[in-house]
């Protein structure tokens, strides 16, 4: 079903900072119209991997391929030019700018005003609002509103809509739901799904297994800088994935341990007022 050549592929990518090895032999693929969920605990190497994909770091060894051809990113701009868009947790980074203005930073639409070339605010607002509304965010209808006044989910949505509008092919979402409430997170997940349906490849980084299972087609679990598991939707249950992320330590064991602790506490209830 999926095209044979992946949009983005990592082959045996390794990264070390001086003597410290952060990533070992990472091999991953993501196809068009597919969501790859990158799971892992804090410190598993997720952020380093994102930075390599975004062109911030260069891999120590190994290759990055786009459409089957090796590529090198010397700076973030190179990755962006090839259609890799990386979005961070809080979405829009210009809270005090209007939706229309921040949408077009660096690529402002222009028009003639007498002898001058001016920023076309009306057009910017119209395009920005339409791009967001196409993703089903109907609450946004005024491009002059400040980005900082929107909810976290709405900001993420605008950031995704912006990347799609400017022709991103691979969307890297770094913990997009981490700071959001349940409703807002569902909102963002719907938009991730919509993005996938438009044929983009999505790399979704999270440590919330529920969110990953809701949108993911393909999962990779990172542990201590290596891919510990690589499987497709339906291959593993939620419990199995959670156990994997915890470094193989069974969650069931942990639960039993915590229960034992709680019982222990009940026998000796903590006395208030004394320390």
């Amino acid at each position: 079903m999926a095209p044979i050549i992946p949009v983005l592929e990592l082959r045996d990518v390794e990264k070390s900072f001086g003597p410290i090895d952060v990533l070992h032999e990472i091999s991953l693929k993501v196809h068009e119209g597919e969501v790859l969920c990158l799971l892992g605990d804090n410190g598993a190497g997720k952020s380093t991997l994102i930075k390599i994909l975004a062109g911030v770091h260069k891999p120590t060894s190994g290759t990055i391929l786009m459409d089957g051809k090796p590529v090198e990113f010397d700076r973030p701009r190179d990755a962006a030019d090839r259609g890799i868009a990386t979005l961070h947790q809080f979405g829009g980074t210009f809270p005090l700018m209007s939706i229309g203005r921040s949408f077009f930073v660096g690529v402002e639409p222009q028009k003639k005003w007498g002898p001058f070339t001016v920023f076309d605010r009306k057009k910017a607002n119209e395009i920005a609002v339409k791009a967001v509304r196409d993703f089903g965010i109907t609450r946004i209808d005024d491009g002059d509103r400040l980005v900082g006044g929107l909810s976290g989910g709405e900001r993420q949505s605008i950031a995704i809509a912006r990347a799609v509008y400017f022709g991103a092919r691979v969307l890297i979402l770094d913990e997009p739901t981490a700071a959001l409430g349940v409703k807002q997170a569902a909102h963002v997940l719907r938009i991730v799904n919509e993005t996938k349906q438009r044929g983009l490849a999505v790399i979704f980084i999270t440590h919330q297994v529920m969110h990953a299972l809701a949108v993911g087609d393909h999962f990779a679990v990172l542990i201590r800088g290596a891919v510990a598991a690589d499987f497709r939707k339906g291959d593993k249950t939620r419990e199995e994935i959670t156990d994997l992320m915890a470094g193989g330590e069974s969650m069931a064991d942990l639960e039993a341990e915590l229960e034992g602790y709680a019982q222990n506490q009940e026998e000796r209830p903590p006395s208030l007022g004394h320390t």
């Binding site: 210009f94 809270p95 660096g106 509103r145």
Partner: protein, 331 residues
């Protein structure tokens, strides 16, 4: 009502309200004759000299940087003009070109140091402020043997830069209005303005989005330093002489005007109209007090109070702007 709340969300709202409040205060408690106050030249002249420097300083602040070297650039501009055209007798055009070149050079150095190092621009321009004071004083004493240099400007230069319109209003007022219009146009109507706001919001993101942040920063530093040397040049032509001292007041006066005018000290928010009215407010408080029965020693207290009240209002209005949801969506 709707239009009023729209007005409140703008960066210049607080300063316009402060300006009105100060005038009302002066009328009620100082017995000011409004006709006399508005007919007077002193505060308009004061505002024009300050305003030409305050606008580029404000633009820098919106972009997330600070320039305090302007304090030395005003005497640098006037001394360069006076030494070249007064002491050495070169044509005035050479003196003026020299003054602007000094501004461009110092602004360029400030800008380069800011983008190439991680030192905050406040510290960099503090360094160039003190260094330029040293250079001006030594150069003046070394070259002319004096700390004050006379200058006689030809009629055309007097007309354009040092004229007193109606015997009282400095021609620099017209320059101020023209520059305000140009800067307002660039900041609010062009792509460059959008870049300046984006840089103040998040410099790294702006750079990743393809904005030449280093180039824009250097240009803004050149604008503020050369605006200050332009003011110095005009003063030398107007007063027929230049002194090595003076100009230090401009540092705080400009920053107060800019902040009262609704520019966020940490960057990313503000307007040229706001800076314009912030400067007017400052000038009315500072110079308008002579038209009241209030002892002029109180003027700094009033400026301090206005600063705090205006900044408080700015914060409130910015909150309002952030939390603004169009009426029909509220239900």
């Amino acid at each position: 009502m709707n239009e009023f709340s729209h007005f409140l969300r703008r960066p210049e709202a607080a300063t316009i309200i402060s300006l009105a409040a100060v005038i009302v205060f002066y009328v009620i408690f100082g017995g000011v004759d409004l006709g006399k106050l508005f007919g007077a030249a002193s505060w308009v002249n004061f505002a024009a000299n300050l305003g030409i420097v305050a606008i580029p300083v404000g633009l820098l602040m919106i972009s997330g940087e600070l320039d305090i070297s302007i304090g030395a650039m005003i005497p640098a501009g006037s001394m360069t003009t006076a030494i070249l055209s007064g002491y050495y007798g070169y044509p005035i055009a050479i003196g003026m070109l020299g003054a602007l070149s000094v501004g461009i050079l110092v602004g360029f150095v400030n800008g380069i140091l800011t983008v190439r190092t991680t030192v905050p621009s406040l510290i960099i321009t503090l360094g160039s402020l003190v260094a330029m004071q040293g250079i001006i004083l030594s150069a003046s004493v070394l070259l002319t043997g004096n700390a004050s240099v006379p200058l006689t400007a030809p009629d055309w230069a007097k007309f354009a830069f040092g004229q007193l319109i109606g015997g009282s209003h400095q021609v620099i007022i017209i320059w101020w209005l023209i520059l305000t219009a140009i800067f307002a146009f660039v900041l609010h109507r062009t792509s460059y303005g959008n870049w300046i706001f984006a840089m103040g919001g998040d410099r790294d993101s702006a750079r990743n989005l393809g904005i030449p942040t280093s180039k824009v920063t250097i240009i803004l530093f050149i604008l503020s330093a050369s605006a200050a040397s332009f003011v110095g040049m005009c003063q030398a032509i107007l007063f027929n002489s230049a002194q090595v001292s003076g100009g230090m007041n401009f540092i705080f006066n400009a920053i107060v005007s800019v902040v009262v005018g609704g520019v966020l000290l940490t960057g990313g928010f503000g307007s040229v109209i706001g800076i314009f009215f912030g400067t007017l407010t400052f000038a009315i408080v500072n110079q308008g007090i002579y038209f009241t029965q209030i002892d002029r020693n109180w003027s700094n207290l009033i400026i301090g109070a206005v600063l705090l009240i205006a900044v408080g209002m700015n914060e409130t209005f910015r909150e309002k702007a952030l939390s603004y949801v169009p009426k029909k969506m509220k239900a």
